[in-house]
């Protein structure tokens, strides 16, 4: 099997794999993590708000998102959004949404569900005395969250948030169902074109593995540091 292994294929494909593929993968990962964190925090605040209806809506959303396979959501969302857009704007034909925008929105919605659970745990880990002290100084609810509770919750949860982002980094490869050229998509295109499946998929695996490992190692270092600061 390895007798006619051709490294040249990989080397020739490197610019394409990294400039096109990896750039897309990292961009999608970064933006989806950021968006997921923002909306996830909003969902977590809804669940903890004490308003029953808000909490219920957020809870249903989280459970719904977590009980669907991601690849199905990506797929359906891509085909449904144009029609939803048409319905919302009242246009005469389906609104075309690019594959990137569609997959980004999907990942943000999906990650928001997971990040919200992490942030909820983080907020609950802050003792009640902290918001009480902030309120006693005259800070409003929003200021208390913004300056006292959320910064601490975020710090406490940083290792878990990064770990979730590593999972997200790997999950972004699922956009292949939309024939998008992310890193894996690029590798598989080269593989098909040159008939070099073994080389390309092996290389792709090594790259995902290496990046995820380095990130995990970073998380452990971070965890140790946070443990010392506390």
């Amino acid at each position: 099997m390895f007798s006619n292994f051709d490294f040249g294929v990989i080397i020739r494909a490197l610019p394409y794999l990294f400039y096109e593929g990896m750039t897309f993968t990292l961009l999608l990962t970064g933006l989806a993590a950021l968006g997921g964190l923002v909306f996830g925090t909003a969902i977590a605040l809804m669940r903890l708000s004490g308003y029953k209806i808000l909490g219920r809506i957020a809870g249903v959303y989280v459970d719904f998102m977590r009980s669907l396979p991601l690849v199905l959501v990506i797929f359906w969302f891509y085909f449904l959004v144009p029609y939803i857009g048409q319905w919302v704007t009242g246009a005469s034909r389906p609104i075309s949404v690019g594959a990137f925008a569609s997959s980004l929105i999907t990942f943000i919605m999906f990650e928001a569900a997971y990040f919200s659970e992490i942030m909820r745990a983080g907020i609950q880990s802050i003792s009640r005395g902290q918001p009480a002290a902030a309120n006693a100084l005259g800070l409003t609810y929003a200021q208390t969250m913004r300056y006292v509770v959320l910064p601490q919750a975020f710090r406490n949860m940083l290792p878990v948030l990064i770990t979730q982002t590593i999972v997200l980094f790997q999950d972004t490869s699922l956009v292949y169902v939309l024939s998008i050229t992310d890193f894996l998509g690029a590798a598989s295109k080269v593989a098909q074109r040159d008939g070099r499946l073994v080389e390309m998929y092996l290389f792709a695996a090594i790259v995902y593995f290496t990046i995820s490992c380095i990130a995990s190692f970073g998380v452990r270092r971070l965890q140790a540091r946070i443990a010392i600061i506390r």
């Binding site: 002290a133 100084l137 005259g138 800070l139 200021q143 601490q152």
Partner: protein
């Protein structure tokens, strides 16, 4: 300054934590609140700045009713300093930033003004050198002095203390009490939940004794220590003064 009248509070329909509490604190007065654990002291003092809601009765601070839904609570609270048993400094902020946060966000002071005020108060509690440290790097007594400085930075008209020394190692109690005694001598209006009867003897004008959610005794210091009228207060006093 603080008017508490006929306050009743329930944590659940069957559990009444405050029963018909009525008292007042006039300007410049230092009132010590004591009583057995679970008697409702913390709850009562938290009702004063509306950290805890109550079901009936009235509390007003400097003429503003705290249980009026129209009252701007953040604004009212910014004028009522509060010091907690467990300090509650913000652990992610440096000491000086702990002192500046509310000055800037609530009172709208500029960064320079807030820092100047903060440093002045840190100097007053003897912790100017610690300004750039984080709370976890300070001892309990130092943290509590920072917490007092943080409350004072808002230029409060009254200060509430909820057992400010009971989470401290014994050797740190006096450094915190000294700050509080100075404050009392300067004429600050204070309501202090504490079992430090030495402090009460030194600066209190009145002592309130609570038991099972009721204000059992509310007397000038001399009367309270001279001859408490109720049995319960007498028992309590003999218990805490015996050790």
């Amino acid at each position: 300054m603080i008017e508490i009248s006929h306050v009743n509070k329930w944590y659940s329909p069957t559990f009444q934590v405050l029963t018909d509490c009525t008292t007042s604190v006039t300007k410049g007065e230092v009132v010590v609140v004591c009583g057995p654990s679970g008697s409702g002291k913390s709850t009562l003092i938290k009702c004063v700045n509306a950290l805890e809601p109550f079901q009936s009765g009235d509390i007003s601070v400097d003429g503003t009713k705290v249980n009026d839904p129209k009252t701007n609570l953040p604004k009212l609270r910014s004028r009522v300093g509060m010091v907690f048993q467990h300090f509650e400094l913000f652990p992610h902020l440096k000491i000086i930033d702990n002192l500046c946060l509310a000055q800037q966000k609530v009172l709208g002071r500029s960064s320079d003004q807030a820092v100047a005020k903060g440093m002045q108060l840190l100097e007053r509690v003897g912790l100017k050198e610690q300004a750039q440290k984080f709370p976890a790097q300070l001892s309990g007594g130092q943290q509590q002095r920072v917490a007092i400085a943080r409350a004072l930075a808002m230029d409060p008209i009254v200060m509430l203390f909820d057992e400010p020394t009971s989470a401290l190692d014994p050797e740190m109690v006096s450094e915190v009490l000294d700050v509080m005694v100075d404050l009392a001598h300067e004429g600050m209006t204070m309501m202090v939940v504490t079992h430090e009867m030495g402090f009460a003897r030194k600066v209190a004008n009145r002592v309130i004794f609570m038991d099972r959610g009721e204000i059992v005794e509310d007397a000038p210091k001399e009367d309270f220590f001279g001859q408490p009228r109720s049995d319960r207060a007498q028992k309590f006093l003999s218990k805490i003064l015996s050790h």
